[in-house]
Amino acid sequence: MMPHILLQIIFIPALTSIFIFLGRYQIGKKAGWIAGGSLLYTTYLLSLAWLKIYQGGPNIYEEYLLIEPGIRLALLGDGLSIPVAFIANVLCTVLAFYSIHYVDHRIEIIYEGIDERRYDSYYTRFYYLFLFFPMGFMGISFSANLLVMYFFLEALTVTLYFLMAYFGYIERVKIAMMCLLWGIFSAVFFLAGSLLIYSQLGSFAISKIPALAGNPLTFWIICVFLFGLFAKLAIFPFHVWMPWVHAEHPTCIAGLLAVYANIAAYIIVRVLVLPLYNDFQVFGIPIMVMAVITMIYGSFLTMAQTDIKRVAACSTISQIAYSMLGLGALTMVSIEGGMFFFLSHIMGKTIFFSTAGLVVYTTGIRDIRNLGGLARKMPITALLWVCGAMMLSGFPPFSSFTAEWIMFTGVFERGASNSTALIVGIIGVMAILLTVGYAFLAVKNVFYGPLKPHLEGEAIKDPPLTMCVPLILLVALSIVLGMYPKIVMNLLHPVIGGALIPS
């Protein structure tokens, strides 16, 4: 086994980032390939770690003393963190390659007429900022310590701020600020919760949190955490930032934004549900109800959108709520399903968003009413979009179907003993129909029908291979996980099942 594997996975992107920054004028447009290469390497490392755990190896634990006496960087690679990190990393890799052309195009539009040196500076800037995303995601996934987790949460927020402000769409600076404030808002609550835990336990270690069980303060600690994390997850009524942010950010990081929001579901499982399962019970039904409200509200909101990017944004609101429904049901099966759904959703959303990006990249049009009939000109893009729509709506053979099925098995298990949960479950499965509605309606409006006259030009065609191939591979990955879910479930189950069965 590779030494310091987790440390490498987290910090190699950061080191690559520094490297790109230092050599920015020499590297220029090669930055995308370098970033992609470094992420391919970390993906390889993650596959090694995955394989090791899959074969029943022990959890990977690494600890580094940062400052005497007790500030440590504690990292844990187990069956829960590795799949999350792996999928997030794969998405980062896919989007790094996807961005090679996209960023080029974006800079041409925003910073029209700049000289080559400044161009290189902007181009490399995208990548050295971008690489902090994988660092942040890997950091959050592997943190065994609340403070370390907080650090990576904030790192993501700051990275997002700069990327958005430099490369976003029309109101990018204002929205970047809004996004930063929301990010800090949730991180502050996370920090407050962590400090409350520290006040009770004298430690930030996640492994110590079970000692809080039964503590009268636990209820309030969970409340503080959930308050912050709901804002990150964009659960109704904390969702208002999502449409803005998704509408204005550069589409090439859209998939990462879905991870940015949805990773809070992982944090909830890791920090709250697993260690404090019994104390968390009171939150179960309210979370389910909130989730189902968000699902329906988000779907209707999506249907009302005419901006292709906002469609994807509002759909994220509704989709994230699905995984929350699974968590809220609080059965072993539903939590494992919810986590699997989280992974499936971020893959689906990456496809959906990035394909929307392909359309915007090619046509320069965001208003769906001005699009139509593109399937004739862009068959691969159309096919990818249909796959994205199927992934969001939970169609087999994609992993979201399997995940949804496992999750709802858990939800109905809960429903057998609780009629509210049963009603929520039935409404929940019916709400999937709204997803089918808006996702396939968008397919129809954008790709089917007669081709609009202003789209006749020769420039309207499928984008270059570096943009399509990574997405096609991602679709293939989703199919593999959907057809052979053991790959994920055999990792998740020992951790989640192992933590819950005794209680």
Partner: protein, 677 residues
């Protein structure tokens, strides 16, 4: 001759999907014949399973199982071969193969035919997965996949060119293929999702989704489920929603008439012969469970499943047949007929639970009608495809006297049409007779009367259809085509061949009809009674034996004779009769508007959802966004600034300074008083 063939049956079409793009790169002809070849292999594999039914029924059921997932829930994937799955797999694979042969001619020259072949083979593979899977989850996977393929094939002409629009003629609205595809996906989706709920609730109690295990352990889990009052009713409703949606039964039947927007053979394959039967198949799969629940475990709620199935079936049979009476579009008339005929199958399966004497006869009747319907309806649709191609019109009133141009198609379509009407000795007669006999045996006479009324309607609309296409006056449209010297004749040889094979098969099955009926009866009796140990009573010889066939023939005549005079002999003019009678006009309008159900759904669900979604931003999202992103920040910044202004010591305003001092004093006093306490 073993279970490997069942696996191959499933795998071949999927291999075909993968290989089609490769073959397309080599040569277009290879692509076309390759696709048909793989469906042929699937058909061959299915046929190799048939000997089990004849020689070794005791060896059935056979299962082949692989563990698919073991944590957090254990699910195995496998194949189940039993009489039901063998029969339906053969219907699917063999009829699909002939339809694929037909497509060789029909799709000639189509620019995106590769997509067509891939979707067709994907459909066949998914349908076979649905039929052969041993487990409700995998049945559901196949179920969803056939839905997606059907969506892709209905909307095959995705450019929505006007020539592919259906509906009309004005003032009735047209529908575009892509809208129709979406409609099918969503309407069947309603059923799918509810069914998923039902399956999962059942899973909670049974802890398995394996069909045989569900049967075997029903003694344990059904009573357990019955402890929660109303739960079995809920599960029955949820589980039936899926078949109701997929098999286009009332109230989820409205998608099928629009599903005809796809190419002709697609309508034949998916929306007549196979996919729409999956609901019937699933109901047949579930019957042993609910039958056990009602007749053995004594859970009275389990009867809901049967009552609901029977009533949904008969209402649909009647409703759709009535709409078929007035339809002008050829394929839509056939679609209504499909909906109506599936209603009969549901009816037969529904009455199985009404009494212990009907289980086997009802079950066998439902499946027999499924098989015969698949044959004659596939043939009708394929012939319709050729006719529409020739007449360059989807409307029957733009055809007329086509018999002289296409004698073969006329002959084949007549055989299939007579079978649909229920004319002896064609298969439709035997199977419909069996359905009616089971229905009568249930002694539920209101069901029986409605079913018989639908027979009259069926006979009328079929005769009308044949008359309008092949007899009567030549329409202006056909005259115009003649003047243009357009090709007015048979389709490609592959098309005629496929229709011919199906028509001959109908004749053969028809002549051996009674034997087939007995065969089905015997096979299912062995399966349900001997193997699954379901209790039955053997019916005493009853009077219905001759009564039903005679009544059935009388009803056929009741419908066919007036239609003959109206549309074939041309003695009466239907338009004049309609214009004279306001009574008939009301009914005509009501049936033409599809009982206003479609209009209601559009108004309530489609417009409702759109209006609701348009309301969300102005009513909820924007105001809340304003509160969070405008008022709150401005409150914090402006309020903070005002607060700062209040709080600074040097305000140059005496009132404020006095105020501060006062507040400070009060504070000190409170603290002191508190401290003294």
């Amino acid at each position: 001759m073993d279970i490997q063939f069942a696996w191959l049956c499933l795998i071949f079409p999927l291999v075909g999907v993968g290989l089609t793009p490769v073959l397309a790169r080599i040569h277009p002809t290879l692509r076309d014949y390759g696709a048909v070849f793989f469906s042929g292999l699937a058909a061959f594999s299915a046929v190799t399973l048939l000997p089990y039914l004849f020689d070794q029924p005791s060896k059935l059921p056979i299962e082949s199982v692989y563990v698919w997932l073991d944590a957090p829930i254990k699910v195995s994937f496998g194949i189940l071969i039993d009489p039901l799955s063998i029969i339906i797999a053969n219907v699917v694979a063999v009829i699909s193969f002939f339809i694929m042969i037909y497509c060789l001619g029909y799709m000639k020259g189509d620019s995106s035919v590769m997509r067509f072949w891939m979707l067709m083979n994907a459909f066949i593979g998914s349908m076979l997965l649905l039929v052969l899977a041993n487990n409700l989850l995998f049945i559901f996977i196949g179920w969803k996949l056939v839905g997606v393929c059907s969506y892709g094939l209905i909307g095959y002409y995705y450019r929505d060119e006007q020539k592919y629009w259906i509906g009309g003629p004005p003032p009735t609205k047209y529908a575009k293929p892509t809208d129709c595809g979406l409609k099918a996906l969503i309407v069947t989706g309603v059923g799918d999702m509810l069914m998923l709920g039902g399956i999962l609730i059942m899973f909670y109690y049974a802890r398995t989704l394996n069909i045989l295990e569900l049967y075997q352990t029903s003694a344990v889990w059904i009573p357990e489920m019955a402890k929660s009052p109303g739960l079995i009713v809920l599960v029955s409703v949820l589980l039936l929603a899926g078949p109701i949606g997929k098999s286009a039964q009332f109230p989820l039947h409205e998608w099928l008439p629009e599903a005809m927007a796809g190419p002709g053979p697609v309508s034949a394959l998916i929306h007549a012969a196979t996919m729409v039967k999956s609901g019937v198949y699933l109901v047949a799969r579930l019957i042993p469970i609910f039958y056990y629940g009602y007749w053995v475990a004594g859970c009275s709620e389990a009867l809901t499943f049967f009552t609901l199935t029977a009533w949904v079936g008969v209402i649909t049979a009647f409703l759709a047949a009535s709409q078929g009476l007035v339809s002008l579009e050829l394929k839509k008339a056939l679609a209504y007929s499909t909906v109506s005929q599936i209603g009969y199958m549901m009816l037969a399966l529904g009455v199985t639970g009404f009494s212990q004497g009907i289980l086997v006869s009802g079950y066998a009747a439902g499946v027999f009608h499924l098989v015969s319907h698949a044959m004659f309806k596939a043939c009708l649709f394929l012939c319709a495809g050729t006719v529409i191609h020739t007449a360059h019109s989807i409307y029957m009133h733009e055809m007329g006297s086509l018999k002289k141009y296409m004698p073969y198609t006329w002959f084949f379509m007549t055989i299939a049409g007579l079978s649909l009407m229920g004319v002896p000795p064609l298969p439709g007669f035997w199977s419909k007779d069996a359905v009616l006999a089971s229905c009568l045996a249930s002694q539920n006479y209101s069901l029986f009367i409605a079913a018989v009324a639908a027979v009259v309607f069926t006979s009328f609309y079929t005769t009308r259809m044949m008359g309008m296409i092949f007899y009567g006056k030549t329409s202006e449209n056909v005259k115009h085509l003649e003047e243009k010297r357009a090709h007015l004749g048979e389709g490609y040889r592959t098309q005629t061949f496929a229709c011919g094979v199906l028509a001959i098969a109908l004749l053969v099955v028809g002549v051996l009809g009674l034997k087939f009926e007995h065969f089905f009866h015997g096979v299912f009796e062995y399966n349900l009674v001997e193997q699954l140990h379901l209790p039955v009573q053997h019916a005493e010889g009853n009077a219905s034996h001759l009564f039903v066939p005679i009544l059935s023939v009388v009803c056929v005549l009741l419908g066919a004779v007036p239609a003959y005079f109206l549309y074939i002999a041309g003695k009466w003019n239907p338009d004049t009769i309609l214009q004279r009678s306001s009574f008939l006009q009301v009914f005509h309008k009501f049936f033409w508007e599809r009982w206003y159900i479609d209009a209601f759904y559009n108004w309530f669900f489609v417009r409702g959802a759109v209006n609701l979604s348009n309301l969300v931003p102005p009513v909820a999202e924007d105001p809340w966004d304003k509160v969070v992103h405008k008022w709150m920040p401005s409150f914090i910044t402006k309020g903070g600034y005002a607060l700062l202004r209040f709080m600074r010591a040097d305000t140059r305003d005496l009132t404020y300074n006095v105020g501060y001092i006062l507040v400070l004093f009060i504070f000190f006093i409170i603290v002191t008083v508190w401290g003294l306490k």
